[in-house]
């Protein structure tokens, strides 16, 4: 293990421990937009729909704040920022529990194309993603629920200048609304990390059958997708193997960690606000040490995990060699913290916190599903140990 934060990456580019004023301004603008467009009344309305998002608000977010392509280079129609800005977006979206195909389109699919795609594919595919016009997602996990790419069983068989996909993908985020599918599959007769590659196809292609799953967190829609001889194109080439996919998953883990910290902060704020107004035994419950200490611990937990989420994003942005390890670290930390903070928020609210009408359960369910999404904390802790060579 090395002291990650001391590592010098590219000359002149080091991990920053503070956001710039421009980044803070961007965050504020986004937060204002979300306060206005994504109050919990809207979250509740959209989560009850099959699509799960409002196309008009998605278009506005894309046009006014350019967030689907925030991290996509300008030559492909994006805003040309990087991982830090992408994570500011996911943190704010997580805080507002925004319902929309962002994680699928911008975090998973756009990064997969950037990491794996040829120059021509990037030029061809990314502009519509960056503009928000085309929704996309990445299908990795299968019915076995394994996040390790080695567990992929979907087969891509060479066929007529392209490939034929056979297999079943599950837990595909926004798989029910995506226009473009990026599918992780393996060549026939390969095992483990060998023979893996990414493939693209249109969601309405022949041999693709999509089914919306009933997800515990209704603000993040999941789909099962069956491929029966569906025709797909190879994204990039076969030489790179699983590397672009792993890189994409690591970046997604960092973006998810930041998203979770936005949600955790919302839960902490909600809990603290409630302790100042709820009166029992003739005093605000926030004046009891049992509650004060719980809140102090929640704050500590949130700030510590935020530090790892921010540090991982910064490390990735400057391509510090430690960043893949930090992705695991940040995901494991954020998973534990978000769930714990949401659970404590319910506890502090008491009985009302367990009701459907109280908003806390919306974040609790996101916390619970995010804990597992992209791999449980124990999976990431083990991966961290491996990446540190322990």
């Amino acid at each position: 293990m090395s002291a990650s934060s001391e590592t010098k990456a590219e000359p002149g580019r080091r991990i920053q421990f503070a956001f710039t004023n421009e980044q803070e301004q961007f965050r504020s603008a986004l937060r204002r937009f979300l306060n206005d467009k994504s109050p919990t009344t809207e979250v509740r309305r959209l989560m009850a729909t099959a699509e799960g998002y409002d196309p008009a608000v998605w278009r506005q977010l894309s046009d006014e704040l350019a967030i689907p392509g925030i991290h996509i280079p300008e030559q492909y129609g994006g805003a040309g920022f990087g991982m830090v800005e992408l994570c500011i977006v996911t943190e704010e979206l997580g805080r507002a529990l925004f319902c929309g195909p962002y994680f699928s389109t911008a975090v998973l699919a756009a990064n997969a194309i950037l990491n794996a795609g040829s120059e021509a594919q990037k030029s061809n595919l990314l502009p519509a993603v960056a503009s928000g016009a085309r929704l996309a997602t990445l299908a990795v996990t299968e019915l076995n629920g394994n996040w390790d790419p080695a567990g992929i069983e979907t087969v891509a068989t060479p066929d007529a200048g392209g490939y034929r996909l056979d297999g079943v993908k599950s837990y595909v985020v926004d798989g029910h609304v995506a226009d473009l599918l990026i599918v992780a599959a393996r060549l026939p007769k390969t095992v483990g990390r060998e023979g893996l590659a990414l493939f693209t196809l249109s969601a309405d292609a022949n041999g693709v059958e999509r089914r919306l799953l009933e997800s515990m967190d209704p603000t993040r829609k999941l789909a099962r997708i069956d491929f029966r001889g569906a025709h797909a194109d190879l994204l990039g080439n076969l030489d790179t193997g699983a590397a672009p996919l792993i890189r994409t998953l690591d970046q997604a883990a960092i973006a998810l960690a930041n998203e979770m910290m936005g949600g955790a902060q919302a839960m902490l704020d909600s809990a603290v606000d409630y302790t100042k107004v709820r009166v029992q035994f003739g005093r605000e419950i926030g004046s009891f040490q049992a509650i004060k200490h719980k809140c102090a611990d929640m704050l500590l937990d949130v700030e510590l995990s935020k530090s790892s989420a921010y540090c991982a994003a910064q490390a990735c942005a400057v391509n510090d060699p430690e960043w893949p390890a930090l992705a695991c670290l940040a995901k494991a930390a954020a998973s534990e913290t978000y769930l714990h903070t949401a659970a404590e928020c319910i506890q502090i609210h008491g009985g009302i916190g367990f009701t459907w009408d109280n908003d806390t359960h919306l974040w609790f369910k996101r916390a619970k599903s995010s804990e597992v999404f992209l791999g449980q904390p124990s999976y990431h802790r083990e991966l961290l140990m491996q990446r540190w060579g322990v």
Binding site: M1, S4, S5, Q16, F17, A18, V272, T275, K276, R283, E284, G286, S287, F288, Q289, I291, K292, H293, C295, A296, D297, L299, L300, E303, L304, S305, K306, S307, S308, Y310, C311, L329, A332, A333, S378, R381, E382, L384, M385, W388, V390
Partner: protein, 414 residues
């Protein structure tokens, strides 16, 4: 304060060092020169051994000292807390009497605040000082006093008015430790070390002119001392790389530091020694145990997050931003890290964790970790007090109802 440029300060201090620095001089002679010239504490006022420079320029002076390997004024122990408190609240005769010998290292100081009956509730002190003509008579007991056994002076918080409310009945004194009425006894800790003392006062004498601030100002003056303690005394670092330098003055300084640092030898163990975890897991083969791997990862995640949280706080400060919540959490985070370290060290060490002494793992260091970590969540403010502070000052939660108002005489106490 006149405006001075960095270049000017650098040139001045360089010229002065070139003319005066000599590593064969005696430590006290050299430090008297530093006091006279103001280069020893350049951020102090010109009237009192300083040059009135802003901290930013004092760092420049420090860099120039480091460049030629020049020794600084004495900084160890609580002497600079004493100095900062006297500079802010002391009378001119007090400054004249004490400041120079603080800087030269001739006098050692200790802090007499905590008592057996008032730990977290420092303002509940019951050591009393009663005025008798031209002097105060002190009776009572202090505890957790570092260096009292070789100190010359103590910063004493004592009750002078029992009818005033708790915080208003305290006064602050400089007391001569080497007098018959003061009895210093070592306090042996659960880890076997005796880094602190208990100090007993039986009709000990403080001359009236050693009252710091006014009668009843003790709490306010003590807050100044504690604020400087939290800030790290003077806000400047002490130069490193002392070990290798040759010359009489360096030898004298090393001897001074060895005495001063004696009580702190076990402090790295108190913090848990996260640095040993992975080596120990490898040397015991427990790094192959999936459960141990999970626990190591949890600990390292906690330790790294705490480190990065401190860096965030520092980065925000450097950018001139108001301090966010991340700046108040370091102490509580350190407690968690220490406890988690003790847990994982035990997991890794197994049955050998029942042993101690030179025959036990790492010549007793692991055992010392296990019996020293409990200090971390107590010393310098318990975790519970930290949580009160964080919840009230950072999160804005309401205070608990109080039961210690009115005349202190009537307040319940130990």
């Amino acid at each position: 304060m006149s405006k001075v440029s960095e270049e000017q300060v650098r040139a001045d201090v360089r010229a002065w060092l070139a003319a005066n620095w000599d590593s064969e001089m005696s430590l006290v002679t050299w430090r008297n020169k530093l006091a006279d010239s103001g280069w020893g504490m350049p951020q102090w006022p010109e009237a009192w051994y300083g040059r009135g420079l802003p901290v930013r320029l004092a760092r420049v002076v420090e860099e120039e000292f480091a460049a030629v390997g020049a020794v600084s004024v004495a900084k160890s122990g609580v002497r600079l807390l004493a100095a900062a408190t006297l500079l802010e609240h002391g009378s001119d005769p007090q400054k004249k009497n004490f400041l120079r010998r603080i800087l030269t290292g001739e006098d050692t100081w200790c802090q007499l605040f905590s008592e057996p009956g008032s730990g977290s509730d420092l303002a509940g002190a019951t050591t009393r000082a009663d005025l008798n003509g031209d002097h105060w008579v002190v009776n009572g007991q202090k505890v957790w006093t570092t260096s009292a056994h070789h100190a010359d002076h103590g910063l004493l918080l004592a009750r002078t008015d029992w009818d005033a409310p708790k915080h208003e009945g305290l006064s602050y004194f400089v007391i001569d430790i080497k007098q018959p009425g003061v009895d210093v006894q070592p306090l042996k800790q659960m880890n076997g070390h005796a880094s602190f003392n208990q100090v007993f006062f039986t009709d000990a004498i403080v001359p009236a002119e050693n009252l710091v601030g006014g009668v009843g100002d003790g709490w306010k003056v003590a807050m100044t001392t504690l604020a400087h303690e939290r800030r790290g005394a003077d806000g400047l670092s002490t130069p490193s790389k002392r070990g290798t330098r040759v010359g009489r003055i360096h030898a004298e300084e090393r001897a001074e530091l060895e005495t001063a640092n004696q009580p702190y030898k076990w402090y790295p163990q108190r913090a848990g020694r996260v640095d040993l975890i992975i080596e120990r897991a490898r040397e015991t083969g427990t790094n192959r145990d999936p459960h141990v791997r999970q626990e190591i990862a949890k600990l390292m995640i906690l330790a790294k997050s705490a480190e990065w949280t401190a860096r965030r706080a520092r980065a925000a400060q450097q950018q001139g931003r108001p301090q966010g919540p991340e700046g108040s959490l370091g102490k509580l985070a350190a407690s968690h890290v220490a406890r988690a370290c003790a847990h994982v060290h035990t997991l890794i060490t197994g049955a050998e964790a029942m042993l101690t002494g030179s025959g036990s793992p790492r010549e007793g260091i692991i055992a010392e970790i296990l019996v020293s970590v409990p200090a971390t969540s107590i010393a310098g403010g318990t975790d519970e007090i930290q949580r009160n502070i964080i919840s009230e000052r950072v999160l804005g939660l309401p205070k608990e109802p109080r039961f210690d108002t009115g005349p202190f005489r009537n307040v319940r106490r130990n």
